[in-house]
């Protein structure tokens, strides 16, 4: 396969992925992730909107991913693997959420 052809396939693949991928919003307010559970597909982005004036994280319990979320800003994380993932805030571990990722 020529490099040109590989590049073409890669661009088609990335186009098709970006066309289907969605951004799903989760809000953090007063140390609560809302909605507490969201459904996503592989390739979707979870955007965490932090309304608290405190720094938070969204960290997968199994260690697969982590997003640092500055105070009053937002953080993003792309779902790369299918399955259910529990997550929490490393700084305030009483904050918990769950993302169910479909293939």
């Amino acid at each position: 396969m020529t490099p040109k052809r590989i590049a073409f396939i890669a661009s088609v693949l990335s186009l098709s992925v970006s066309a289907r991928a969605e951004t799903i919003q989760v809000t953090i307010d007063k140390l609560v992730f809302t909605p507490a559970e969201v459904n996503a597909k592989v390739g979707d982005t979870i955007e965490l909107i932090n309304k608290d004036a405190l720094v938070h994280t969204a960290t997968a319990t199994n260690g697969d991913w982590n997003a640092n979320i500055p105070a009053s800003q937002s953080g993003q994380v792309v779902m790369k693997k299918p399955g259910a993932a529990d997550y929490y805030c490393k700084l305030h571990p009483n904050m918990k959420g769950r993302i169910v990722v479909a293939p």
Partner: protein, 178 residues
């Protein structure tokens, strides 16, 4: 039959006691909003001071990160508390609980000052677990139920969630140090 004066008097006194005793007991046990604001602010400031001591003494990354989190979070919560008392025109009032907390913190600071390295790290983090447990207990059992202003109560409730988070975070750090 005429009731002797002494009986009338003692009956009167008994009634008075019945009326005043619960009020007194309540005022002794139940802090006022200005006192609650002072206790909550003091508790936060003491934890900032403890974290600053840890930042001076500790070389452990997890302990230092935790201490920095404490400085940042408690500074923010206290900033919000000051803004709220300013808005409500509540003047925080010093009280026995605030004084006891301050005295206890000074003793702990002296005790920790004598320790170094891993011994300091363990003692600091263990104290952070214990301190947040105590403050959270006071918030839940006394301060939040006693707060009469709704906004103050709301800030204390959010504060409780933040501090419960700190308690768990401290427990995680303590487990890592073992």
């Amino acid at each position: 039959m005429e009731v002797p004066m002494i009986v009338k008097l003692s009956a009167g006194l008994a009634t008075l006691c019945l009326l005043t005793a619960p009020v007194f007991a309540q005022s002794a046990a139940k802090p006022t909003d200005p006192q609650i604001a002072h206790i909550a602010y003091t508790a936060g400031q003491l934890d900032i001071d403890a974290a600053k001591q840890a930042l001076e003494k500790s070389k452990n990354k997890k302990v230092r990160d935790f201490a920095q989190d404490m400085v940042r979070d408690h500074t923010e919560v206290n900033k919000q508390a000051l803004a709220l008392v300013g808005k409500l025109k509540v003047k925080p009032e010093d009280n026995d609980t605030s004084r006891a907390l301050t005295k206890e913190a000074a003793a702990k600071r002296d005790e920790l000052a004598k320790l170094n390295g891993a011994a300091f790290d363990k003692a600091y983090v263990a104290h952070e677990v214990a301190y947040h447990t105590t403050v959270n207990g006071a918030l839940e059992s006394t301060l939040i139920p006693s707060a009469s202003n709704g906004e103050l109560k709301g800030l204390l409730q959010t504060g409780l969630k933040v501090f419960q988070g700190h308690q768990q975070h401290a427990e995680h750090v303590a487990a890592d140090l073992k």
